[in-house]
C-alpha cells in the first residue's frame, strides 16, 4: 500500500505533556492580566483557589485509583483545567462555587472516564455547564468592569452580552450602544481587551505549534460568517456585529484554549475544520437565539460529542499517486 509521505515542519519537536501544559499556562497570562485590570483581583484569587482544589482532588483520586502520584501530578493537566475554569467563572464567585466546579471537573469529567487522555468531554467545560445549570444566579453575576458607569453601591451586574440579549428592547444597535455605558469600540468595555489578550496568547500557542490552527480558524470564521449574515445593518433585530462576537464573552478563550484541547477535540486535519466550525455555529446560535447570553461551554460540549463521529468520517486515506 502506498503511503503518502508527510513532510515534517522545520521547527517540529515533540513536547512532553507537562511542557505543553506549561506553555498553555504561560499563554493565559495576557488575558489574565486584562481580566485583572478590568475586573479586579477576583480572577487571580479564583485561579489560586481552584488550582489548590484541583491538586487536592487529583491527588485524592490518584490515591483511590492506586496510581503514581508524582508522575500524574507533574503533568500539570489538573492545573490547566483549574486555570481555564478560573478564567471562565465570575471573579466575585463564592468559595464553594470553585470547589464544586473542580470536583465535577477532576473527579467526574476526568477520572471517572479514565483520566487524562480518556475523557470524552473537556473537564473545565463540564464543570462550567454544571455550575451554570446548578447556580444560575452566582454564575451570571459578573463584576462591573472598570470604566462602566454604575451605582456607587453596585459591584456586580450583567455582562455586556447579557445586556445585549435582555435589555435591548427593540432598539437599533447604535441607539442601544449610546444608551448603555457597557459597550466600548467593538464590544463590551473590558471584554475587548480580555479577548485581545487571549488572542495574543493563542497566537503564541499557534507559533509554538502546541494547538492545531484549523480549530480556531474554523471556529472564528464560522462565527464571523454567521454574525455578518445576521448583522442586518444594526437593526432592532440584529444579532450584533461580527466584531462584537469576536471580541465579546469567551470567544477567544474558547477558540484558542478550550476548543483546542487535544484530548477532546477532533484529531484529523479536515475533522478539526468541521469541529471548529460546529463550535462557532453553535456558539452564535446560543448567543442570539438561545436561552443563555454566551454559549461557549455548551458549544464545546456538543463539539466533544460529535468529535468521534467527525474523526470516523475524516480519516486521511492513502493517496494513490505517491
Amino acid at each position: 500500500m502506498a503511503v503518502k509521505k508527510i513532510k515534517l515542519p522545520k521547527n517540529y519537536q515533540v513536547l512532553s505533556t507537562s511542557m505543553i501544559m506549561l506553555w498553555v499556562l504561560v499563554a493565559c497570562i495576557p488575558g489574565l492580566i486584562a481580566l485583572t485590570v478590568f475586573f479586579g483581583w477576583g480572577t487571580l484569587i479564583n485561579i489560586v483557589w481552584l488550582g489548590l482544589w484541583a491538586l487536592v482532588f487529583e491527588a485524592l483520586v490518584l490515591v483511590l485509583r492506586k496510581r503514581n502520584l508524582a508522575f500524574y501530578l507533574k503533568d500539570y493537566s489538573a492545573l490547566v483545567t483549574a486555570v481555564l475554569l478560573g478564567l471562565c467563572i465570575p471573579p466575585s464567585s463564592p468559595w464553594w462555587l470553585g470547589v464544586t466546579g473542580m470536583f465535577f471537573a477532576i473527579v467526574i469529567a476526568k477520572h471517572l472516564y479514565g483520566g487524562l487522555g480518556q475523557n470524552l468531554f473537556n473537564p473545565a467545560m463540564v464543570a462550567y455547564a454544571v455550575l451554570l445549570i446548578a447556580f444560575p444566579i452566582e454564575m451570571t453575576n459578573w463584576v462591573i468592569p472598570l470604566g462602566v458607569e454604575h451605582d456607587i453601591d453596585a459591584f456586580t451586574g450583567a455582562t455586556a452580552l447579557d445586556l445585549f440579549r435582555n435589555e435591548r428592547g427593540g432598539m437599533l444597535i447604535h441607539e442601544f450602544w449610546s444608551q448603555t455605558s457597557a459597550f466600548g469600540t467593538f464590544s463590551g468595555i473590558g471584554w475587548e481587551w480580555v479577548n485581545a489578550g487571549f488572542l495574543l496568547g493563542g497566537l503564541l500557542l499557534l507559533y509554538k505549534r502546541i494547538i492545531a490552527w484549523q480549530i480556531p480558524l474554523a471556529m472564528l470564521s464560522s462565527l464571523v460568517l454567521l454574525s455578518a449574515l445576521f448583522y442586518d445593518g444594526g437593526s432592532s433585530v440584529s444579532g450584533g456585529s461580527p466584531l462584537m462576537h469576536l471580541f465579546g464573552g469567551g470567544t477567544m478563550l474558547c477558540a484558542f484554549f478550550i476548543a483546542t484541547d487535544p484530548v477532546t477535540a477532533s484529531t484529523t486535519p479536515r475533522g478539526r475544520l468541521i469541529y471548529g466550525a460546529l463550535i462557532g455555529i453553535v456558539t452564535y446560535v446560543i448567543r442570539v437565539w438561545g436561552a443563555y447570553p454566551d454559549g461557549i461551554a455548551f458549544a464545546v460540549l456538543l463539539g466533544n460529542f460529535a468529535a468521534p463521529l467527525i474523526d470516523h468520517y475524516t480519516q486521511p486515506r492513502p493517496s494513490s499517486d505517491a
Binding site: 464544586t100 467526574i108 454544571v130 445549570i133 446548578a134 447556580f135
Partner: protein
C-alpha cells in the same frame, strides 16, 4: 420452600435487582426520584401492580396460549395500573398531580412485564405474588435511595411534603443542612443520571468485593443450617 423464597428475595433485592442489575424501568426511576415522597408514591404503586399482575398472570397461566400471552399480560397490567391510578386520585390527589404521567406509564415498565413472562407464567400463584412483592421492593428501595440522595443534595433536607402521601407525616421534614444554598443539578435530569451511575458503581464495587463463588458457598451453608 423456604430456600426457594429466600432465593427469590436474594435475586430480586440484590443479585438480579430490576433497577441496579437489569436496568429495567429506568425512565420512571430517573424521572420520579427527585424527592422521597414522589419516590415512595411510585414505589408503592409499582409494587402493588407487580404483586397483583403476577398473581393474576399465574392464576390464568394454563388458559393462555403462547401466541396471545403478551397482549393478555399487558392488558392485565394495564387493568391494575388503572386501579392504582384511581386509588391515588382518590386518596392522594396532590401526589397524583405531581407524579401524574408516570403512573399510567407503569404499564410500560419492562420490569413488570418481564416478571410476568419469565416468572409468573411458569409458577404457582402464591409464589408468583411473593416474587412480585420482592421485585417491587427491589425496585422501590433503589427508587427511595435515589430519591433520598437527590432530595438531600438538591435541597439540603429529606422527607419534605410527606403529607402528600401519608397524612400523619406532615412534620417529618428533616433539614440536614441548615442554610444550604441548594444544588439544582441534583433535582434535574442530568443529576438523576449522574447519581444513578454512582449508585450502580457502588453496587458493582460491593459485588466485586465479594466474589460470586464465596456468596454461593455462603448461601449453601445457610440453607443447610436453616433446614
Amino acid at each position: 420452600m423456604t430456600t426457594n423464597l429466600k432465593n427469590i428475595s436474594r435475586q430480586a433485592l440484590w443479585h438480579n435487582n430490576p433497577a441496579l442489575v437489569q436496568l429495567l424501568g429506568l425512565c420512571p426511576l430517573l424521572a420520579v426520584s427527585s424527592s422521597v415522597v414522589n419516590a415512595l408514591g411510585l414505589a408503592l404503586a409499582t409494587t402493588m401492580v407487580l404483586v397483583f399482575s403476577n398473581l393474576m398472570v399465574s392464576l390464568i397461566r394454563h388458559q393462555i396460549t403462547d401466541a396471545i400471552r403478551l397482549p393478555v399480560f399487558v392488558l392485565i397490567i394495564a387493568g391494575f395500573v388503572t386501579c392504582v391510578e384511581l386509588l391515588l386520585q382518590a386518596f392522594a390527589y396532590p401526589l397524583y398531580l405531581s407524579i401524574g404521567i408516570f403512573i399510567p406509564l407503569i404499564v410500560t415498565n419492562c420490569a413488570i412485564l418481564g416478571r410476568a413472562v419469565s416468572f409468573a407464567a411458569k409458577n404457582p400463584p402464591l409464589i408468583s405474588a411473593f416474587d412480585g412483592l420482592m421485585t417491587g421492593l427491589g425496585f422501590g428501595l433503589v427508587l427511595l435511595a435515589l430519591g433520598a440522595i437527590r432530595e438531600l443534595i438538591g435541597t439540603g433536607a429529606v422527607f419534605a411534603n410527606m403529607e402528600l402521601l401519608l397524612p400523619f407525616a406532615g412534620n417529618w421534614e428533616l433539614t440536614v443542612l441548615p442554610g444550604y444554598p441548594g444544588f439544582l443539578l441534583a433535582l434535574l435530569p442530568p443529576g438523576a443520571f449522574l447519581l444513578m451511575g454512582l449508585l450502580l458503581a457502588i453496587k458493582n464495587l460491593i459485588s466485586s468485593a465479594r466474589p460470586q463463588s464465596e456468596q454461593a458457598t455462603e448461601a449453601a451453608v445457610q440453607s443447610i443450617n436453616n433446614n
